[in-house]
């Protein structure tokens, strides 16, 4: 390849990751989505720990406390928040199991990696739908 030809196909480097670029320009592949959602769901669960512990504490303290938690959890915003946390737990669970297989060098090729990413996203939605249906 001539010097001139090499120059015409060279992309501008370095490329800076501005917020608009992150939001609109760079499109994550499916495994990338599973990965970043694994992190986001983990962080979400960490921040929710205090709330969940508070509910566990109250629900086991007395019958009145248990009923208070029941009424509280029936409120629509609370229910929605709990559903989001249930999704976070299911996603973190499924993505974690996929990660364990990746650790063992299973499913690291592009095809299987994409397939299992889709499976993780679908399975966590299906799990949270089933759990939500069973609990409410």
């Amino acid at each position: 390849m001539s010097e001139a030809a090499a120059r015409t196909i060279r992309k501008p480097r370095p490329k800076y990751l501005s917020l608009p670029a992150l939001l609109f320009e760079i499109r994550l592949p499916l495994p990338g989505w599973v990965s970043i959602l694994h992190r986001i769901s983990g962080a979400l669960l960490f921040f929710a720990l205090v709330w969940l512990l508070w509910m566990l504490d109250l629900s086991l303290a007395s019958e009145a406390g248990f009923e208070r938690v029941q009424r509280y959890a029936a409120l629509v915003p609370v229910k929605l928040a709990l559903l989001v946390l249930a999704w976070a737990y299911c996603h973190h669970f499924c993505a974690g199991i996929r990660h364990l297989f990746l650790d063992l060098d299973k499913g690291t090729d592009l095809g299987p990696a994409r397939l299992t990413s889709g499976l993780v996203l679908a399975a966590s939605i299906a799990l949270v739908a089933t759990l939500g249906w069973a609990l409410w």
Partner: protein, 114 residues
């Protein structure tokens, strides 16, 4: 020569392995818990209290809570190492995370053995 940073990783396998082992402990507990809750009687206060008054349940839940604390520590520390660049701020947040997780674990023990 690797530049050793006090707020960095331990340059070893320990936390990596701990994160995976604690994950498996929590996964097993979760599956058992879902099975117990969905196949047992409808959850009224008595059922709920009796479930958590059994010795095996308390110990299993304690193992779950301890695994959660350790697992969350490794995960949160990874996030802090990725995004928080100033050493002082990162160390403060890491210490804060440890203290909070330690407090949660103490709280969980209090809830279980009341």
């Amino acid at each position: 020569m690797v530049r050793r940073v006090v707020t960095g990783a331990h340059y070893g396998l320990r936390d990596w392995l701990a994160q995976r082992i604690t994950a498996v402990v929590m996964a097993v507990y979760s599956v058992i818990m879902v099975f117990v809750l969905l196949t047992g009687k409808p959850i009224a206060y008595g059922v709920w209290r009796d479930l958590f008054s059994q010795g095996w349940m308390r110990v299993a839940t304690l193992l779950f809570a301890a695994s959660l604390a350790w697992h969350a520590w490794v995960g949160v520390r990874n996030i802090l190492m990725d995004y928080i660049k100033p050493d002082g701020l990162r160390l403060s947040l890491q210490v804060g995370t440890l203290l909070v997780l330690g407090a949660y674990l103490g709280w969980a023990i209090q809830i279980l053995w009341r």
